[in-house]
């Protein structure tokens, strides 16, 4: 590679990271939650908490979103949908698991019909515990995720790893 190809790689990467941190568009997916966490997510997005201050916007299309907000213990039925939504999102992408069920299965842990947590299906970047977590806790989780991007090789490294993992999972899913 020529040394003159990209003279300021650090500065360019810094600009990209700055833009990513300041403009996270979120997508909300319910993978079999009781709707408690979903109501809290909606409350977080209302004018009272005004997430547009931080550039956070709710998007309808997975193609536009950067952060997937997941709730619920992932029922067997929701598994393929969750995988598809995740693979429809474009790199770099991040996942926040919201609520006790999304973290560990919560009270549904061990049930025959749930997988018990988002991380059993797709890689998760931040966890927000609570049943349901308050809007402040959700904001805190997203801010922690964003501040982890500032660390060297925070974003792209995990994203590349995650996409490999998902490809494996999709192949595995199709074989079933």
């Amino acid at each position: 590679m020529k040394p003159t190809k990209n003279r300021h790689p650090d500065r360019l990467a810094g600009l990209k990271t700055w833009a990513r941190i300041n403009s996270p568009w979120v997508l909300h997916f319910n993978s079999g939650s009781c709707n408690g966490c979903d109501i809290e997510i909606l409350a977080t997005l209302t004018p009272r908490y005004d997430l547009e201050r931080f550039g956070i916007k709710l998007q309808g299309s997975p193609r536009h979103a950067d952060v997937l907000l997941c709730t619920g213990a992932v029922t067997r039925q929701a598994r393929s949908r969750l995988l598809r939504i995740y693979s429809q999102m474009h790199e770099p992408k991040f996942v926040v698991a919201i609520g006790s069920c999304a973290l560990s299965g919560g009270v549904f842990q061990g049930c025959y019909n749930v997988l018990g947590g988002i991380e059993k299906v797709i890689p998760v970047d931040a966890y927000v515990p609570g049943c349901p977590p308050r809007p402040e806790a959700i904001i805190d989780g997203v801010v922690k995720l964003l501040s982890s991007l500032k660390a060297p090789q925070g974003g792209d490294g995990t994203a590349a790893h995650a996409s490999e993992m998902v490809e494996k999972l999709v192949v595995e899913h199709e074989h079933r």
Binding site: L15, K16, W18, A19, R20, N22, S23, P47, D50, E52, R53, G55, Q59, G60, S61, R63, H64, D66, H90, E91, P92
Partner: protein, 313 residues
Amino acid sequence: MASDIIKDLLVSLAAILFFPGGLFLLLCGLLYEWIDRKLLAQLQNRIGPRWFQPLADVIKLLAKEEVVPEEVDARLFIGLPIVALAGGLTAALYVPFAGLAPSHSFNGDLIVTIYLLSLLSLCLGLAGSNTLDRFSLVGATRTLTQLFSYEAPFLLALLGPAFAAGSWQIQEIATYTETRWLLLSQPLGFLVAVIGLMGKLELPPLDAPEAETEIVAGALTEYSGRGLAIFRLSKGVTLILGLTLIAAFYLGGVSNPAFFFLKTIALLLIIVGLKALFARLRIDQSVGLWWRYGTLLVLIQWLGMFLWGGVMT
């Protein structure tokens, strides 16, 4: 001799690329998008985004992965956003932007400018119908339906000042309106022009083509990364050019840069107020609004103008 030609070429290149066209226009588009979002937030009792928000959005989108979906024409998928932005930037050459005289002008450039501005909706419609996604298709159908409904009244509304000035050249109309507030003599035309601009930009309550609660993101559902960023930029450019045209025609001229920004921002405030006030119309309702009321109002305006002209002479 040769150096003069080169110098002229460089000057006009700089005018197109940096100021007042090109980069400056794009940045102004982002600035107006921020003002729009901030005012809307204030009306909704929120704090609203920070001043660099639209810039951060665009940079993030440009740095994002872009995937061309299966079964689409890749050349169209990549080319359409560029054509939309190019249409807006070309229209800027004929518009008295930021208080400066338009860099190009010929008799009849008003019609050309209006057609260049509607390239955005056309490209959105084609971009949506290019993909197989059902949300994109519905969004594209609605975008094109809306294009056919608002375009005629919008054109008629902008032709009112042209008739008053007796010219189809934007520069001459702008000179004519410099001393006259046509808002006072043609209030109906002004109203239709403002709402026509909202229809062009798919702003609420005329945002059925991109209704995110029913058809995800409309025609742009499959777009991400660079394509989405360019479409957002061209929407910003169209917004600012539309505001400029209406302010120049109806609000007493924009030859002074300070007045230009004051008047366009006042116009933006009206649009944001309408955005915050009204809920989304169904697509058949917005078509009905245009053909039943919009066109009729402009025609009444024209009738009044001609009768008044007949009485005066």
